[in-house]
């Protein structure tokens, strides 16, 4: 049996090492924030996950453009993978944020209909919708085109998620940048951001390989027998 050790496993190993370091520093290494105290430690996972969800969402948008321009199976596999990974990341962000809010920061609430949360929920539903639409389409050209167009439409919400805290200030804080976060928190934050990015790249490449392998397996299968013309016409 052929052994596979694909290049992306190197990224995964580096990503896991960085994630281990970043999470351990965030959980146990740095002091708690003065107002939010211990619940603030979710920050070291929540913010990098949110950054990467928007970044990978942008990658999906680029993949959609590439799919429309080239109509190649590789671009289509890349598109499906990046949409799926974006959905996984944004679901993680919503869960982390919900737990953060319930942990005392926003009182005992799991959810508030404020702009950032609502826009993020719309983003999750949009990307889930793209995958749902894709699952109904069998023929490659239609599936690739519809997925790409739906992804471009869904991507409209990504800049809204990023900018809505400026446009429509609500409960959610503004964007975290090196200027607005204490120096001592920078490195755990950066480590986790790079770690999640590397793990996301690993997931995208693996998921794209899966799509290509599945398509190749289907191409190997014999075509089903063509139905008799009389059966289509009604049997006469």
């Amino acid at each position: 049996m052929k052994r596979y050790f694909d290049w992306e496993h190197g990224l995964l190993l580096i990503g896991l090492a960085l994630l281990g370091w970043g999470c351990s520093r965030g959980l146990f290494g740095v002091p708690a924030e003065v107002f939010m105290q211990e619940i603030f430690r979710i920050f070291f996972l929540h913010v990098p996950t949110a950054w990467n969800s928007l970044l990978i969402g942008t990658v999906a948008f680029v993949a959609a453009i590439g799919t429309l321009l080239t109509r190649s199976r590789r671009w289509d596999a890349f598109l499906e993978a990046s949409v799926e990974v974006t959905l996984v990341l944004i679901i993680m962000v919503l869960i982390q944020g919900s737990i953060w809010g319930h942990g005392g920061t926003w009182g005992d609430t799991w959810w508030e209909w404020e702009p950032r949360l609502t826009a993020s929920a719309v983003m999750a539903l949009s990307f889930a919708g793209v995958l749902s639409l894709r699952s109904f389409l069998e023929q490659f050209d239609r599936r690739a085109t519809w997925t790409a167009v739906a992804t471009i439409v869904a991507y409209v919400d990504v800049p809204i998620v990023y900018l809505c805290v400026k446009w429509m200030p609500g409960l959610h804080q503004k964007q975290s940048t090196p200027e607005t976060v204490s120096d001592i928190y920078h490195w755990p934050l950066r480590a986790n951001a790079i770690a999640i990015l590397l793990i996301a790249i690993w997931l995208i490449v693996r998921r794209a390989r899966l799509t290509l392998a599945r398509d190749a397996a289907r191409a190997d299968q014999p075509l089903p027998e063509a139905p008799q013309p009389g059966l289509i016409a009604g049997g006469d």
């Binding site: 959980l27 003065v34 105290q37 211990e38 869960i95 928190y185 190749a216």
Partner: protein, 81 residues
Amino acid sequence: MDLVRSAWAENPEGRDPAPEETLAVETQQETKNNPFDGVVTNNSKALQHVYSAYGISLAILLAYALVVSFRLARYRTGRES
């Protein structure tokens, strides 16, 4: 994250804020119309939430990675046999 920076500048040792600290009072006043109550005091409950958030997130990542890896391995072995 202005809150973090300003709070950190006021409290470089990471000590617990005293109730009479001006910043905390101002924050509570600024946000009295929303559910944020300013200062989180129940740290054991908070830590449970923190560990839950990390655990659920990593479990989701792991589960997704396993599903993708197993399906990919199945297709690859299927093509070889």
